[in-house]
């Protein structure tokens, strides 16, 4: 099963909620909005997960002077440095870049529109 078909399924589900259920089920509006948001996050995650891992790896690589193998381990080391007060001039920019990657998944529409 291709990833695109899964995305098509998600999009169609979102359309049913938005166009069919929301106008009729006013009392369930909050639940439906939460469902919409969940599908939006899921869709963004599927579309972004591979590229996001690559980007995160690249972002954290800029911080270390040695090649990193595992991005999660590298971020843990980065955190340890922060806790120990070992911050470089780059730290703040790295944090901003990592946050931007997270927001592409949790707020995909905002990320698209800058």
């Amino acid at each position: 099963m291709s990833e695109q078909k899964i995305i098509d399924l998600l999009k169609a589900s979102q359309a049913v909620i938005k166009n069919e259920l929301l106008p009729q089920l006013g009392s369930q509006k909050y639940n439906l909005l939460m469902l919409m948001r969940s599908l939006e996050i899921l869709q963004a995650y599927i579309l972004q997960k591979d590229i996001s891992t690559l980007h995160r790896s690249g972002i954290v690589q800029d911080y270390f002077s040695f090649p990193i193998k595992d991005v999660d381990e590298a971020i843990q080391l980065f955190i340890s440095d922060i806790r120990e007060g070992k911050q470089s001039d780059q730290t703040f920019e790295i944090l901003k870049a990592l946050n931007s990657e997270d927001l592409k998944i949790t707020e995909p529409k905002a990320a698209q529109h800058g």
């Binding site: 469902l35 980065f78 007060g85 911050q87 730290t91 703040f92 944090l95 949790t106």
Partner: protein, 329 residues
Amino acid sequence: MNANHILQLSGILQQNLGLIPHEIQLKKMSGGAIQENWLVQSEDFALVLRKNAESSVEASSDREQEFLLLDRLYHFGIKVPEPLYFEKSPNFLNSDFFIMKKIDGVTEGHKLVRITEEEKRKKITKDIGKQLALIHAIQSDEVLEKLLPKPDKDQYLENKLTGFLEQLDHLKRQRPILEYAIQWMFNNLPKVDDLVLVHGDYRIGNIMVNDDQISGILDWEFTQWGDRREDLGWFTSKCWRFGQDENIAGGIGSYKDFAKAYAEISDIYIPEFEMKFWHVLSHVRWAIIAMQQSDRNNETDTPSLELALTEFLVPRLEKNILEILGEKE
């Protein structure tokens, strides 16, 4: 709640509160990731029953403590619902619960921040500042300190930050921005002059407004002794403005109106620039609570979409933190 619950509750209302529970109706009220509130209503009375939800987060106190605290606050003249009855678990609800009088008004933050009349919003903002100052003016006494032990003033903030680190370790998340923010706070600790009774969750969604006046202040489960700026910071943090970012005070009014009204009662005016530390603290705290709530979702019998989604608020809170820390002094 089922028919058996209603029957048992009717017995309590009759025997303990002297009410005649004729055709009572029960309705679950909005909110409730941590507690559940049920409206208990008949032609003659309107009450609220408050019990634990299946997903109470670690930082919240239990219902007995909340009931005793409400009782004390009511005695001090703070605008809280009058507490009437408490019952400990095990019982028919399988939870500690208490019953209080219902207060009329609106608590939905997203509605309050969209009140179009500017004068009305201004009046509410001032009342919110005034009520907060009245809470902070409560004098410590034996009953309160037994309920809420006072921390060491000199260690209070450092302990709070250390607690954040412990909570992050416990949550097993990698959140470098939160780590960075906590270290920034360690390096920028403000001087704490005195400890007052802080509400701990003073935000527009916990304040009940009837027309243009505050009719009740709700949800005291995070109340503790702390720095007054913790409440001011929480109320004015970007994360509690319901998208109305230009209205620093809870999305409803200006910081100046809020702080001036606070100062009229307390004689203490806290300028906006002092809020930087407390806004960072508010965001870190909310991010940790959001992750704890998300984890609770795995512990309940029925998964909660609301709880599961709270995790996904964290990057937005972290973005706010970076914006605050990136601001020029």
